[in-house]
């Protein structure tokens, strides 16, 4: 094992105060069992899962209650034993604010497990079995993107990167996981590396806290895996933990535009995903809970918790002592990329790494929104090398094709540009709008092309029919205009005979 400081760097970025100590004073705590759990069928990227249960059905803890649909989909399991209340639309945390189909489970309080088959030697299993078991365990990326992990393992790669660089302020769930369960992360990394057939495995952590480095170092030494896994320290500069930026810092390479890290022989997985994969394979525990940081100036007693998926956020907050009087905004995720929620009756989903409650002074500012003064602060801090200022001007003028030419679709929505903008322009809102408007216009363009194609086909068919009819009429006219000859009389007699022959069977039937 080599502990090294990564030598690469990415352009731009913003140095942000960590604010993680607010919640990391204790250990990861567990919560009392909630009365009702709400499990949306779509907690991951890809197709929603298909429900396997009926209302009134009894389920055990860890039982499969929804199966993945297609290759890019994830399974859902019952986080505790109980009775299925219903499968109905419920509010789920998503930008549209719309409800989504969810399985509602009433807990019975017994927390009874289904039978489990732990595997004491998981590294001896073939890779294909591993992928299937991860698929059945519903493991998805716990870093925020929630991509179904088994689908990521389809291609083999050279190097596996385990991402422990939690760069957003306030979020500390990965840090706590490293401090308390480094062994699970390391064994999970070995498992995933074995599945992928990767030659190298790197775990990346930020350098601002020595305890995390020491915890991983110690775990590597204790497990004897220090020769197999490299530990790399990366500078704490937001958005260090973004997959593309992390790859650039660790290897100096860039993921091709519209491509994947697998295209350059790399794969990036979160530390939480690695630990979940280990628990799934080694102990047959599917993914139904995760570590969530509950923090912010609006929470009375911030902390990190092992939370069952489906726990309503309001119960999570109540377990932390409730809101402080300053609580003004509820965010799922971090302050830079998180989603502001309109109320706290949403369930904790696989993507929920943090519940952040901000105060009025955090979200409001006395300075109003001004026109863009073209100061280029946004250009200097964009980690993707874009020109946020130009993108903003073009999107404002509804020149979305020009914005596309300036690569707005490569924006990672990290929020660095909006953070440094002196004019207080909500830049990321513009890029999100542009991306979805471009997708809509592309779709409209595809439909228009299809319609034009059908129109052209129809016009061609109608023309052909017209021409065939004209030709037939011309032939008939030509025939009629020539004087009768003996051959013609024979033709007429043959035609009359044909008609009589056709008519005859009908009259026969009538009799």
């Amino acid at each position: 094992m080599i502990i090294q400081r990564a030598r690469g760097r990415f352009p731009g970025g913003v140095v942000m105060p960590h604010r993680k100590r607010l919640s990391t004073h204790g250990k990861i705590e567990s919560l009392p069992l909630p009365a009702q759990l709400i499990l949306p069928l779509s907690q991951h990227l890809g197709a929603p899962a298909k429900s396997l249960v009926e209302p009134g059905q009894q389920v055990c803890k860890g039982e499969l209650i929804a199966m993945p649909q297609g290759q890019i989909s994830a399974a859902i399991h019952a986080p505790t034993s109980g009775v299925i209340h219903n499968i109905e639309p419920r509010p789920v945390p998503q930008p549209s604010g719309q409800n989504a189909m969810s399985i509602v489970l009433d807990a019975d309080g017994h927390d009874r497990w289904r039978p489990r088959n732990p595997d004491p030697h998981p590294l001896e299993q073939p890779a294909s079995r591993m992928v299937e078991r991860l698929r059945r365990a519903g493991v998805a990326g716990l870093g925020g993107a929630v991509f179904p992990t088994h689908a990521k393992l389809a291609r083999s790669v050279e190097t596996l990167i385990i991402n422990g660089a939690e760069c957003e302020p306030y979020i500390a769930c990965d840090e706590m996981l490293i401090l308390e369960r480094a062994a699970e992360i390391i064994w999970g990394a070995m498992l995933l590396r074995h599945t992928l057939g990767a030659r190298r495995c790197i775990i990346a952590v930020e350098d601002h806290r020595a305890e995390t480095r020491k915890a991983l170092h110690q775990a590597l030494l204790d497990s004897g895996l220090d020769e197999c896994i490299d530990l790399r320290l990366v500078p704490s500069r937001y958005p260090e933990g973004g997959e593309r930026q992390l790859i650039q810092v660790l290897t100096g390479w860039e993921v091709p535009a519209q491509g994947l890290p697998q295209d350059i022989g790399l794969l990036c997985l979160n530390v939480g995903t690695a630990a979940a994969a280990w628990r799934a394979i080694r102990y047959d525990e599917p993914l139904f809970s995760r570590v969530v940081t509950v923090t912010g100036p609006g929470i009375r007693r911030p902390g990190n918790f092992q939370v069952l998926l489906g726990t309503p956020i309001k119960e999570l907050v109540a377990a932390c002592g409730g809101y402080t009087p300053q609580a003004t905004r509820l965010v799922m995720g971090g302050p830079m990329m998180g989603l502001a929620l309109p109320h706290d009756d949403h369930p904790v989903v696989k993507a929920c790494n943090c519940v952040l409650v901000l105060s009025r002074s955090d979200v409001e500012t006395m300075f109003p929104e001004m026109p863009c003064i073209r100061c280029m602060a946004c250009v200097d801090c964009c980690p993707a090398g874009l020109l946020p200022q130009q993108l903003f001007w073009h999107i404002q003028a509804d020149k979305l094709q020009r914005a596309r030419m300036l690569a707005v679709e490569d924006c990672i929505e990290c929020g660095c540009c909006a953070q440094v903008c002196p004019s207080h322009i909500p830049l990321v809102d513009y890029y999100r709008y542009a991306k979805s408007a471009l997708a809509q216009r592309d779709e409209a363009g595809r439909r228009a092309d299809a319609a034009r194609h059908r129109f052209e086909q129809r016009s061609a068919r109608v023309n052909r029919a017209e021409q065939a009819r004209t030709a037939r009429l011309q032939r008939r006219d030509a025939l009629l205009s020539t004087p009768s000859s003996g051959d013609r009389k024979a033709e007429i007699a043959a035609a009359v005979a044909r008609v009589r022959a056709q008519r005859k069977p009908v009259t026969d039937e009538k009799q």
């Binding site: 930008p95 513009y430 709008y433 991306k435 979805s436 997708a439 034009r452 129109f455 129809r458």
Partner: protein, 174 residues
Amino acid sequence: MLAIVLITGLALLMGLGLGLAAERLRSSGDPVADAIEKLLPQTQCAQCGYPGCRPYAQAIAAGDADINQCPPGGTAAIRALADLLGREPKSLNPANGAASGPRLARIDESACIGCTLCIQACPVDAILGAGKRMHTVIAGECTGCELCLPPCPVDCIELIPATSEAWAYPVPGR
């Protein structure tokens, strides 16, 4: 004196060059009309006064038609055309109809008599059916052009708003 001669000579030379280029380097097809047609919504509804999107595109390219005649394209198409042709966008010509959201035709099956008149009228073959058989509109192919409404002898076709499936981020407003 010399200056006048030189400038006139230069102007004549350039005029000759331009004339030759217009003849010899003329492109085949009509690339301007092609580019314009790509921006039109392809409903083939004839609300612009031309019998289809291609004739309208050709008319714009020839300078016979203005860019604001297409109700299904709406302001988005007008802006795109203005951008392409380097003109000022203008508001939609109200004489051709109002810009409405995406719409679909729907046949009331209880009233359909199977006459195939609507099938013959549809410019994109989006109606399924045959003589004395039930007719129905294929929603995925219907462009909402309304050409099937007049021919129907029992008036059993109506236009309903087409719901778009994906939610999109709203325009960041002031």
